[in-house]
């Protein structure tokens, strides 16, 4: 059986296709939900980090520093295991939700750093001009600084989301059938005595997701740039 026959066998087998599609669905759901979760968490953490120092902010600032340090300093697989075997070691708790939370928390740390860098890259004069007009810190942030920071942050966030999608390929380790895991199962099956074909097909799926995402990011970047047309 040559490669192309193999591919067509795979695509015409309902059993294999169902597996692949389930895998694709899980990869997609985990990546997208974790992305949204990570963006929200990361934004909150970045704003805490950048808030003016005050006794009230001391504890949140300390927590967010520890969070970023720990998450960025430990392997994703370990974080995933801690989530499933320690934090959510509850019978019947859906592993997909655990994975979403684990990847969201992981992604949030990177997003927070990207957003912080993006906000700091906006000239301090913009903030000073806003404050000098009598605008509050919050209004100056929302109306002036953040709109300018977004432009600087989008490319980095895009990279982070792409990295996240590919990193979800380890969820097979906690028995979730994602794209990678489904390819492995098919490869181990009787009729496909080879991993090459299912793995290649899975790779194509990943490529397709990442490529589509790249296009979306490009469009967003172009839109944002149009708003400050020179």
């Amino acid at each position: 059986m040559n490669f192309f026959e193999g591919v067509s066998t795979l695509f015409s087998s309902e059993k294999y296709m169902d597996l692949l599609i389930e895998g694709f669905k899980n990869t997609f759901i985990i990546s997208m939900a974790a992305t949204v979760f990570g963006l929200i968490l990361g934004t909150i953490v970045a704003l805490i980090n950048l808030a003016p120092n005050s006794p009230l902010m001391w504890v949140p600032k300390a927590i967010s520093k520890v969070y970023i340090t720990v998450i960025r300093g430990t392997p994703m697989a370990l974080q995933l295991f801690i989530m499933i075997f320690v934090v959510f070691a509850i019978r019947g708790f859906p592993p997909v939700v655990t994975a979403i939370i684990a990847f969201g928390i992981n992604s949030g740390a990177y997003v927070a750093e990207n957003i912080r860098a993006g906000i700091l890259s906006v000239d301090i004069g913009q903030t000073e001009a806003g404050r000098a007009l009598g605008l509050s810190n919050g209004t100056t942030m929302m109306k002036i600084v953040i709109p300018q920071a977004i432009k600087n942050v989008i490319p980095a966030i895009g990279n982070e989301v792409i990295a996240l999608i590919k990193e979800t390929s380890i969820v097979g380790m906690i028995s979730i059938t994602d794209l990678t895991q489904s390819a492995k199962i098919i490869g181990a099956g009787n009729n496909m005595a080879s991993y090459l074909i299912p793995m290649s097909v899975a790779a194509l799926f990943y490529l397709a997701i990442v490529y589509a995402l790249t296009l979306v990011i490009k469009v967003i970047e172009r839109r944002l740039r149009a708003s400050d047309k020179r």
Binding site: G125, Q126, A129, G130, R131, L135, S136, P147, R230
Partner: protein, 269 residues
């Protein structure tokens, strides 16, 4: 109008303002001169609290904008009183006199060396953002005011462009009328022409002179000596974080007393 009382300011371990006191009265046009690093910008930025003084007080009219400085109120504080007693007195004093800085800033227009127009907003939006956000004007009123001001500086045709398309002189003139759109009682200028190409300096200085003629109270940090002499009603000379000399332009330029000022003038003129 503005009352600066014995203000000090440190950056890390360096003392940049070493006990500065000055009063800006209504209708005055005060020009601050001095060598680079003498603390001119820092003093100006303290006046609207873009920098927070380490000690001393700043008053805008009857409103205290800094913390109370116990050293300035020996009458209120018993010499032998403990720290907590002093803090209690200060708190009560601030409760009575201190104002919200955001309210005080509305009365003070600030013009920066590097314009600092909001890059993400059009010229019109730059001018209407604060009046609308602070609910001082409706959108229609704010836009009407903005259009009148732009008409005045002959930039009405630029109303919907983004700042990046303007020349330096145009940017600074828009920055000035953006501040005017708030109807400030006083304008603070920090080297408004230092970042401009020489051929654009004139248009900005002309606009500032117009405001002076209309009676606007202003404080100007500048290195333009001719302009300073022409526009100032009083000149302050700063050096090493202190006001070394002050007087009318004639006094300061024609009969400088302190040696540092004589040296400074011999270098710049």
């Amino acid at each position: 109008m503005i009352n600066v009382k014995n203000v000090t300011k440190n950056f890390q371990s360096v003392q940049v303002l070493k006990g500065v006191s000055c009063t800006i009265k209504k209708g005055e046009r005060v020009v601050i001169l001095g060598p680079s690093g003498s603390g001119k910008s820092t003093l100006l930025r303290c006046m609207n609290l873009l920098e927070t003084p380490n000690s001393g007080e700043i008053w805008i009219g009857d409103d205290l904008i800094t913390s109370m400085d116990p050293a300035l109120h020996p009458d209120l504080i018993d010499k032998k009183a403990g720290k907590s007693a002093v803090r209690r007195v200060a708190k009560a004093y601030e409760a009575e006199h201190k104002t919200d800085i955001n309210l005080a800033r509305r009365q003070m227009g600030m013009v920066f060396q590097h314009f600092n127009l909001f890059n993400n907003l059009t010229v019109l939006q730059n001018m209407t953002l604060a009046p609308i956000q602070l609910k001082l004007k409706t959108k229609e009123e704010a836009e009407k005011t903005a259009m009148e001001l732009l008409e005045r500086i002959d930039l009405l045709d630029k109303i919907n462009v983004y700042p990046s398309t303007l020349s330096g002189g145009q940017k600074q003139r828009v920055a000035i009328v953006r501040a005017l759109a708030m109807n400030p009682k006083v304008m603070l200028f920090d080297e408004p022409t230092s970042a401009l190409d020489p051929e654009m300096v004139g248009e900005v200085l002309d606009l500032i002179k117009q405001l002076a003629d209309e009676g606007m109270t202003m404080v100007i940090v500048t290195h333009e000596m001719g302009f300073a002499r022409e526009v100032a009603s009083r000149v302050l000379f700063m050096d090493g974080g202190k006001i070394m000399e002050q007087g009318t332009p004639e006094e300061v330029f024609d009969h400088p007393q302190c040696p540092r000022l004589q040296e400074f003038l011999s270098k710049v003129i």
